[in-house]
Symmetry: C2
Subunit: 198 residues, 2 copies
Amino acid sequence: MTQKVKKYAEGRRSVRAFKRKPVPIDIILDVLDTAHYAPSGANEQPWRFIVIDDSDTKRKIREASEKGEREMYEKVSGSFKDWLLEHGLRPVKPFLEEAPVLIAVLMSSTAKYARESVWVAVGYILLALEEYGLVTVPYTPSNTSYPLEVLAAPKDYRLEVILPIGLPDDDSQRTDRMSLESLVYYNLWGNKHPVSPR
Amino acid sequence: MTQKVKKYAEGRRSVRAFKRKPVPIDIILDVLDTAHYAPSGANEQPWRFIVIDDSDTKRKIREASEKGEREMYEKVSGSFKDWLLEHGLRPVKPFLEEAPVLIAVLMSSTAKYARESVWVAVGYILLALEEYGLVTVPYTPSNTSYPLEVLAAPKDYRLEVILPIGLPDDDSQRTDRMSLESLVYYNLWGNKHPVSPR
C-alpha cells in the first residue's frame, strides 16, 4: 500500500493555469494550520502568511512582480536565459491575477535558520494542497521588494514565495525526476552499496 | 475529518533520544522516494542523500560534528547562549551515534534556489517519517566542513542537515506554536479581517 504522504508527493505537479472557481477560505486556513506546525530553528516560527483574494490587490501584486521580472529578463544572459526560453518562461505572470487566491509567505529576516524553516513549512503547504486537490506553483519574484511594498510588510520581513492556488486549468504533467538510485549513497559519498538489512 | 497531512504535521515532534531497534532500509528508501518528488528551482533536484547506518561512520560523524559545536560554544555569547542553556542544549550530540540510522542531506551549491528546494524535500521527509511512526530532529552542525570531510563529499556540495532516525525513546512533547490567527493576514500586512466567503 502506498503511504499517503508519498502519494501526495508523487501526485503533485506545478500548475500555472487556474480555473476561476473560488477556493473556500476554510480550506486555505486548514492548509496554513498544517504549515504552522512545521518545526523551526529555536522554535522561532519565522513565517507569516498573507492570504490575498482581493482582485485589486492581486493585480497590484502581479504588476509589482512583473516589473521585477522585466528588469531581470533585460539583464539576464547565458545558460539561465536559454533555460528560461526553452521552458517557455516569460516576464508575464498572469497566474498571480487569475488564481482565485494567493498565499504570500513572508519570513522574519532576524530568526535563526529562517529560510530553512520557512521552506519546510512550504513543503507542508504543497502536500496539504495536493490532499485537497488544489494546485499551485511556488513563485519567487525576481525582485521581492516591489510586491513587499504592495503588501506593506515591515522592513524585517522578506517575501520568500507567492503561492497562487486554485483548481488546475491545464493537463500539464509533473516534470521528470532523476532515479532514486542516482541520488542516494551509503555511508560515504559515491558508495552505491545499500545498507545491509539487520 | 482531519486531513492526513495535517494529522502528521500536528502529530510530529522533534526527538533526540532513540531506541536502538534498527529501521528497515526499505522504509528509509521509501521516505527518500517521497522526498525526491519535491519540486526544485529549474527542476535541478539539488539534493543528494547519504544513508548512514555503519557504527564506525556514525561515531566519526558525531565526533566531527561535536568538534564544530565545541568551537561554537566557546565563541558564542549573549541571547543565543542564554537560549542554548535554557533549552538544555550542549555541544555533545549523542543522537548521532545512538540513532540506528542517519540521513545526511547534501545540496549542490551551484543550483538555483537550492536551499529552498532542499528544505521543501526535508519537509516531505519529516511528514513521511511521521506516517511511518519514526522520529527525528533536524540537526545542522555548527561547522559542516568537519562532517563533510568524513563523508568525502565533493567541494560543490554542502551539508544542509543530518536527520537521525529511529523509534522514540522519550516522551517529550511538541513545542508550542503561536496561534494561527497571529500568523495570518488578509490582503495586506496587519489586516486581521478574514477574506469574505464567495
